[in-house]
């Protein structure tokens, strides 16, 4: 690796995927891509992290919730095409419906297994994946669905020497807003304080007269709302198809582990790290692309199991 001039870094060329000619501007674009990728993952994973943090439930079906949000958004948008700005209405309505569904699941199923060994929650939510997956297939069939970028976000923006899709920047903004929004919710609102209390010690909160089961339901619905929102917002970017749930849940897993189980800030940082790792990893070692996430997950679990921002209690 030779540094020929301040803004040019030379790599070996060839099929290993390393460029022959790279400059800082390209690195900047890659950084931006990584952040945007990471933020998309965060949008999906934050719901999982919230649910685990407060309810101590590892919701394997979170990917299926994401998928449900995506399908609802696509269906609403394409069924009511004639309504201008339908995509935005779908983004509001879709996640709301998903949250209602989540509430139903929580009340009917999850409520019975709080306090049980985490393995039961794992298997129960795995059963949920199967159920939701087939429900989606029954309702919308097995095809590939697609909608396009909504106005006014269907353009690109000039960044340094290149262009970057406006919609991706929008997603970055949404991710950051959700991060700060959740912090604000938890820190400054009464509901937030109750949630934090319940997270810390559910018995005491119950003794203080708080309706703990209701709080659990609200948190689960909020987590599902976030997952559904992630799905709805992802639809202009990705193909909506069966099987999108399983590919996404692995990434959420990795993010939550890296960040630290139960930490919302950790999920944010973890997602960004995963996005950046992918973005820069493919420049250096593209053949190992499929391994990056799990190697990082294994390393963190060996070296610092509580993740970057995790707490000791989940023993």
């Amino acid at each position: 690796m030779l540094l020929c001039s301040p803004d040019r870094v030379m790599f070996k060329s060839g099929e290993r995927g390393i460029y022959s000619d790279m400059n800082l501007q390209a690195l900047l674009m890659q950084l931006l891509s990584g952040l945007s990728s990471g933020m998309l993952i965060y949008l999906i994973a934050v719901g999982l992290s919230l649910i685990f943090g407060t309810l101590k439930v590892f919701n394997l079906a979170h990917g299926a919730i994401y998928m449900l949000g995506a399908y609802l958004c696509v269906w609403l948008t394409s069924s009511f095409e004639q309504i201008p700005g339908m995509f935005w209405w779908a983004v509001i309505l879709g996640p709301f419906l998903v949250a209602l569904f989540g509430g139903l699941v929580e009340v009917v199923l999850l409520r019975r297994i709080y306090g049980w060994h985490f393995m039961y929650e794992f298997i129960l939510t795995f059963g949920l994946i199967l159920i939701i997956s087939d429900l989606v297939k029954i309702l919308w069939g097995g095809g590939f669905h697609s909608i396009t970028y909504p106005w006014p976000l269907n353009g690109t923006v000039k960044v340094a020497a290149g262009t970057f899709p406006l919609y991706n920047l929008f997603l970055v903004a949404v991710g950051v807003s959700i991060f700060f929004g959740l912090r604000a919710l938890l820190r400054y609102t009464r509901l937030g304080k109750v949630i934090r209390g319940v997270t810390y010690n559910r018995e005491i909160m119950s003794a203080l007269g708080e309706n703990v089961p209701a709080v659990y339901t609200v948190v689960f619905m909020l987590g599902c709302w976030l997952g559904g929102l992630g799905g709805a917002l992802a639809t202009p970017l990705v193909a909506v198809t069966l099987g999108m749930d399983t590919t996404v849940i692995i990434q959420c897993f990795i993010v939550v582990v890296i960040g630290g189980l139960g930490s919302l800030t950790g999920a944010f940082i973890g997602a960004l790290i995963l996005g950046l790792l992918d973005a820069f990893g493919i420049m250096v070692l593209p053949q190992l692309t499929i391994a990056f996430g799990f190697i990082l997950m294994a390393v963190i679990l060996i070296v610092r199991p509580y993740g970057l921002m995790g707490r000791r209690e989940y023993e």
Partner: protein, 422 residues
């Protein structure tokens, strides 16, 4: 007894009932008059998950063929019947279903599949059980070449022929302008094979090519942003990929706005298929100008039967497009029908002998089944993606495939060498 125990009791009754039902299935023997006994085809394909589309499309083609044939009196007076099973893209599930179909349901033929791993697993079993297995969607050359055997056939193109076709078309159109190649292929057997074949075939016709970047996203990736920014910053001139299905759709949606299609000449190994882009509208980002390959471009094929049969598929499936998997299933059923009628019985060995080297009929014309590897020399049409007034979705236009068609498949000599070597 508490309510919980009652529910537990009921659930256990259901489970025991399930066990009993399965044991009943064990001891019951289906009885049917020998002459009217249906000829059974076992159709294995993913019916759930991200490849469900291909499975249901093939099932549509098979159903249309069976309906037509049964309406005409069946085969040798016997009706045809298909049993569909979901492989869930898992070789072990596929193998289990194949065993059940052959050993328990006593199917006469096996058909289908899009995943090459699953196809190889089933093919191994078909060889042991001496049952004819007609592969439709799986594209790995291994199935018919290295691991080919007497009982496996493929009606449909293979990865080499499709890549060769697009490589030749690309070389013709862009060979003088595009020598630096950027590649993105899903990281598994199919992706690696396509990448290697493209380098070979394009390199044969264009001198001085260089692969400046090669990416290997996991199959099922939906976020291609980092890959796109990586090769947008490179000095590549041509982009080759073998993405298909949901991956391809996601890629196009992200790549077009990022300017990939303006910077690069884009060539894809597969996926000129309608089922993937069927929801893409004229106002959406679309892969215009991309060279792709498809096995059933009925909108432009010079054969009236193609459009006719496509209409029947659309009718049956209730869709506004016909998928290549449908025509492959359709053709396979008719090929078996013709073979059975020609040899006069459902005799596996005689049917294999009959089909070797035979020119079978298909909605796209006559297709020859190569004797050495049972690969149908299916024309891998290549063309350039565009919108036309007659169809709402984009598709390949100016379709072409290399002539003679034998040139675009591995020669018998090559295959003999390959088989000797292993």
């Amino acid at each position: 007894m508490t309510k919980k125990n009652l529910v537990g009791f009921l659930v256990s009754v259901i489970l025991i009932l399930a066990l009993v039902l399965s044991l009943v299935g064990v001891f019951s023997q289906p009885v049917a008059a020998a002459s009217k006994k249906p000829i059974l085809i076992g159709h294995l394909h993913p019916l759930t998950g991200s490849f469900a589309m291909f499975g249901t499309a093939c099932a549509t083609g098979i159903d249309v063929a069976i309906d037509e044939i049964n309406l005409g009196g069946g085969v040798l007076g016997r009706p045809l019947k298909v049993i569909n099973r979901d492989t869930k893209i898992s070789p072990s599930v596929g193998l289990r279903e194949a065993k059940d179909l052959v050993l328990s349901k006593k199917v006469d033929f096996l058909m289908g599949n899009i995943s090459s791993g699953v196809a190889l697993a089933i093919s191994g079993f078909a060889k042991e059980a001496k049952v004819i297995y007609v592969v439709t969607g799986s594209r790995s050359t291994k199935i018919t070449e290295d691991k080919g055997h007497r009982y496996v056939f493929r009606i449909g193109a293979n990865e080499f022929s499709r890549v060769s076709a697009v490589a030749q078309l690309a070389a013709e159109k862009w060979g003088d302008k595009a020598k630096r190649i950027v590649m993105i292929n899903p990281d598994y057997g199919y992706g690696h094979a396509c990448a290697n074949y493209f380098k070979e075939e394009y390199g044969k016709r264009v001198s001085g090519i260089e692969v400046v970047s090669a990416d290997w996203p996991k199959l099922g990736t939906s976020d291609f942003t980092p890959y796109i920014s990586k090769f947008m910053a490179s000095n590549g001139e041509m982009l080759f990929h073998s993405l298909y299905g949901g991956d391809y759709l996601s890629f196009v949606k992200q790549a077009v706005p990022a300017g990939v299609y303006k910077k690069f000449y884009v060539v894809g190994a597969s996926c000129g298929g309608t089922e993937t882009v069927c929801e893409m509208k004229k106002t959406d980002p679309a892969p215009l100008g991309e060279i792709l390959s498809d096995e059933f471009p009925y909108w432009e094929i010079d054969n009236p039967k193609a459009k006719e049969v496509a209409a029947r598929f659309m009718d049956k499936a209730g869709t506004s497009y016909a998928s290549y998997e449908s025509v492959l299933g359709y053709t396979s059923v008719y090929a078996l029908k013709d073979a059975i009628e020609a040899v006069g019985a459902v005799d596996t060995e005689k049917i294999v002998d009959y089909l070797e080297g035979r020119e079978i009929d298909s909605p796209i014309g006559k297709v020859k089944i190569q004797a050495i590897d049972h690969q149908a020399l299916w024309p891998p049409y290549a063309g350039t993606m565009a919108f036309t007034p007659d169809y709402p979705w984009p598709h390949i236009t100016d379709i072409w495939y290399p002539h003679p068609i034998e040139k675009v498949y591995h020669s018998p000599e090559y295959i003999k060498e390959l088989r000797k070597g292993k």
